[in-house]
């Protein structure tokens, strides 16, 4: 266990070094937040009749996306891991006394958390004090807030499990960017990163509900705004846990098979 904590610490400290990058990231995210809100606002100006989500809820949704960007984006390159897989240096990794799946999992998790920690607080400080309609909303109740935190953290674990699958797929495709690109594009769209799921047409919504992606973005953020009521949220958390378990089990199985191939071929 200590090994994983050390990796975590190392990655975290590493991440903290880059304060200029963090400042730049914050500025970028604020800008994108504004632009997206303005775009949505324009649509709502045109006709806000019978929209399943109010503009206010959409604004909150957009800001949550920006604040927790590193928790929800699939496009997170870890070049070290890619290089190991394509280069054959995987042999060295296997010599370490730590199991590979949890090792990489901790690494990816730590990267996302350190990235978020550096950026989320300044953004949070800003978005609660913006003028309407840009202001971020607050959860309707304390219970909603707690459920939000739980679902957000579970969503993070789910997304790391998904990205583990992407990295494992590289063992077969040998093309890092290729694997990552296709899945990230599709996955982020299906998570509601481009358009919030309730605003999608019915048939599209049904597709997203069948896949794990929406449990990382769409679900936690709508729990926050109360758009998803508390009792539904509790069921949702259960489903998150099920998806998490499934993804990890599949991930470990596939990794075992991939590593066996590597060993058989001689790396």
């Amino acid at each position: 266990m200590n090994a994983y904590v050390s990796i975590w610490r190392l990655r975290f400290i590493n991440g903290m070094q880059y304060r200029a990058a963090a400042a730049a990231g914050i500025a970028t995210q604020l800008f994108f937040g504004f632009i997206f809100i303005m775009i949505f606002a324009a649509f709502y100006r045109f006709s806000d009749s019978a929209a399943p989500m109010s503009l206010h809820e959409v604004v909150t949704y957009v800001w949550l996306q920006q604040i927790f960007l590193s928790f929800i984006m699939l496009w997170f390159r870890d070049n070290e891991i890619f290089a190991l897989i394509t280069g054959g240096g995987i042999a060295y990794e296997l010599c370490r006394p730590a199991e590979l799946y949890p090792f990489w999992y901790s690494k990816l998790l730590a990267q996302r958390v350190s990235s978020a920690v550096l950026r989320c607080f300044p953004i949070l400080a800003v978005v609660f004090v913006l003028p309407e309609p840009y202001r971020m909303g607050i959860p309707p109740s304390f219970g909603a807030l707690l459920l939000f935190i739980a679902s957000l953290l579970l969503g993070l674990l789910v997304i790391v499990a998904i990205s583990m699958l992407i990295y494992i797929s590289v063992f077969w495709t040998m093309s890092p960017t290729g694997s990552l690109l296709m899945v990230s594009v599709a996955g982020e769209f299906l998570a509601g990163a481009v358009v919030p799921v309730p605003l999608m047409p019915e048939w599209m919504q049904r597709i997203t509900y069948a896949l794990p992606f929406r449990w990382t973005t769409d679900f936690p953020f709508r729990v926050y705004s109360g758009h998803i009521p508390q009792h539904e949220a509790l069921w949702g958390i259960l489903i998150q846990l099920l998806w998490l378990a499934a993804l990890i089990v599949i991930g470990r199985l596939l990794m075992k098979r991939a590593l066996r191939n590597v060993v058989v071929q001689g790396g």
Binding site: A20, T28, F31, I35, L181, M182, V185, L199
Partner: protein, 259 residues
């Protein structure tokens, strides 16, 4: 310049060596804007329209900007990827060659896989034009061409500014994304839907408005044509000139402080 095409040729042959990866990446590049376009489509379906713009008009705006972006990512990628060039110490290699740094940096990287994105925006463009018969006149089509070309110049200029930034620090380079990716995300929708300050900034300082919104009004018969209108897209060329100056300033700084 002849040298630029020689660079193009050597990179093309180089990338074609990896056929499978090339195709996979191009396909991926097709789907990224496809997803964004999908978003546009769904939003129009849900809400019916934007104030003053119908779906095909917005799609035209989308296509123009994405074409400019994909062309500049394909041909000016050298500046966009400059951070890795300078971090690897390879810029010194360019300084030891008897050619201008601009040509060499442009020639340092091409990404032909961006053709996927180009294809996607081309399809959207054709689809939009099919539903906007008012644009099918020779002067309007040539204006459209001018818009795309100058859009490329604007993006190239932004890439150049971002690359110059790398001479001081590679860390905060993400800010450039505000203007490249951010500029693209924003300009793909008609500019008048935004707050006044956004519209003004992106018309006069980084003149996206001049290559998309203003000429678009004319193309779609929302505004009267005038001779001045033909000059507005040239704002792209005007923008890129000070960027070149900033670049040479950056090179001078690099050469007096080392890497």
């Amino acid at each position: 310049m002849g040298l630029y095409f020689k660079y193009l040729s050597i990179h093309f042959r180089s990338q074609l060596q990896y056929r499978a990866s090339f195709l996979l990446l191009s396909a991926g590049q097709f789907f990224i804007p496809f997803a964004v376009f999908g978003g546009l489509y769904f939003m129009f379906e849900r809400f019916g329209g934007l104030p003053g713009w119908n779906f095909y008009e917005a799609a035209l705006c989308f296509a123009v900007i994405h074409m400019s972006f994909s062309l500049s990512e394909c041909f000016a990628r050298g500046f966009d990827a400059f951070s890795s060039l300078v971090a690897g110490g390879d810029f010194d290699r360019l300084l030891v060659r008897p050619r201008s740094t601009v040509v060499q940096v442009l020639g340092s990287k091409f990404e032909f896989t961006r053709v996927g994105r180009l294809l996607q925006s081309l399809i959207v463009l054709v689809w939009a034009l099919m539903n906007l018969p008012q644009v099918w006149t020779l002067p309007k089509m040539s204006l459209l061409l001018l818009m795309v070309v100058n859009g490329v110049l604007i993006f190239t200029g932004i890439f150049m500014l971002a690359a110059t930034f790398c001479f001081w620090t590679i860390q905060a380079i993400e800010v450039a994304n505000i203007f490249t990716d951010g500029g693209r995300e924003m300009a793909q929708y008609p500019l008048n839907i935004y707050e006044k300050w956004v519209t003004r900034f992106f018309t006069f300082i980084i003149p996206f408005g001049c290559v998309s919104y203003l000429p678009l009004m004319y193309l779609l018969d929302k505004k009267e044509g005038s001779p001045l209108l033909w000059l507005t897209p040239m704002a792209g060329a005007l923008f890129v000139l000070p960027c070149l100056l900033v670049w040479s300033f950056g090179v001078r700084h690099y050469r007096s402080t080392g890497s």
